[in-house]
């Protein structure tokens, strides 16, 4: 249980990255590929936050005047991930708008059929 205690967050982040990559590489439907992109994004954000964790630490907010600041977790990865989450949703919205236009033009969302229709 010692090994699991330390590495459970890394295993979760690695599993999400693996499943996200598998969906992007193997699936045919365009909307499912975009779902895989979102899962990959969540996995990378989870990994960044779990790197910045300090054992027995608390959140970096000085809510009371007498709080001790010796055991606070690292605030820099949290600022980076805050930015990354918002950029992730912006990229998903733009990708979905392109998928809607593709469906209006080709009539299907299957990537194999679109490739055959183009050539």
């Amino acid at each position: 249980m010692g090994f699991l205690d330390n590495y459970i967050y890394y295993i979760g982040a690695f599993g999400l990255i693996f499943v996200g990559l598998y969906i992007i590489l193997v699936k045919h439907n365009l909307i499912k590929v975009i779902v895989g992109l979102g899962i990959l994004d969540t996995g990378v954000n989870l990994f960044l936050i779990s790197v910045g964790y300090i054992a027995k630490g608390t959140a970096p907010i000085f809510s009371r005047p007498g709080i001790d600041s010796e055991h606070m977790v690292d605030p820099v990865p949290q600022a980076l991930v805050l930015t990354a989450i918002v950029i992730g949703v912006a990229v998903l919205a733009l990708a979905l708008s392109l998928a809607i236009r593709l469906y209006q033009h080709y009539g299907t969302l299957n990537l194999r059929k679109i490739r055959e229709q183009r050539w």
Binding site: F14, F18, I54, A55, A59, M72, P75, V76, A93, L98
Partner: protein, 226 residues
């Protein structure tokens, strides 16, 4: 053939990532910059939420870049989706009375909660992006429940442009008053008060209004002519 290459690529990536993840110790402090921000953060910026002071004051330029990326995505989505042919007026079935009344009751409460979250961004967990997302989900409720109402396109564009403009103008004022862009030039006040931490609440209010109206505009563009 393509499937074999995909599986090979996945195995190589899995081996590489797991080997490098095993060497990173968990729960051990790794950098020194974080310690400096925690020790000096309240004195230098006046905000008691250290993550807010990192996002707005220490790394404020990255936040400007992120607001630009969100703006470009919203413009791109608007340009791609309205270039096609229009299909005529939408045929909607009006919602039932219970749903309509419930949505109209909930909408101002959600707006007030979102505004509370981004005004107190420098004191409690929260901030501009979270408050903006809550406001956008309030507008989503109106689009789903009361289907004939729309926010006017002009008001949404005006709110978005004003938010971005306030952010850049405050940064340029910092350049005018002192040494660098986004200098914290207003008085810092006492910690844990609402009017403290210089320009940080003003920038977060601008970001909250901008992100909220932007995400509501994205949903409006997607729902239109459905």
């Amino acid at each position: 053939m393509r499937r074999i290459i995909s599986i090979l690529l996945l195995v190589i990536v899995a081996l590489g990532i797991s080997q490098s993840l095993a060497k990173i110790p968990f729960g051990v402090p790794k950098t020194k910059v974080g310690r400096h921000y925690i020790n000096e953060g309240v004195k230098e910026t006046g905000a008691t939420n250290i993550v807010t002071s990192v996002v707005v004051s220490y790394r404020g330029f990255d936040t400007l870049g992120e607001v630009t990326v969100l703006f470009i995505a919203a413009i791109g989505l608007g340009a791609v989706l309205t270039a096609g042919a229009r299909e005529g007026p939408r045929k909607t079935r009006p919602a039932s009375l219970v749903l309509y009344t419930g949505c109209r009751l909930l909408f101002p409460l959600i707006l007030v909660f979102g505004t509370y979250v981004f005004i107190h961004g420098h004191l409690t967990p929260g901030g501009g992006f979270q408050g903006g997302a809550i406001i956008a989900s309030g507008f989503l409720l109106i689009y789903l429940g009361c289907r004939e109402r729309r926010i006017s396109r002009a008001a949404s564009n005006l709110a978005e442009s004003l938010g971005g403009l306030v952010f850049v103008v405050i940064g340029l004022l910092g350049l005018g008053f002192g040494d660098y862009f986004l200098l914290n030039f207003l008085p810092k006040g006492t910690a844990n008060a609402l009017f403290s931490a210089g320009i940080i609440p003003i920038i977060y209010i601008a970001i909250g209004v901008k992100v909220g109206s932007e995400l509501a505009g994205i949903i409006d563009n997607l729902i239109e002519e459905s």
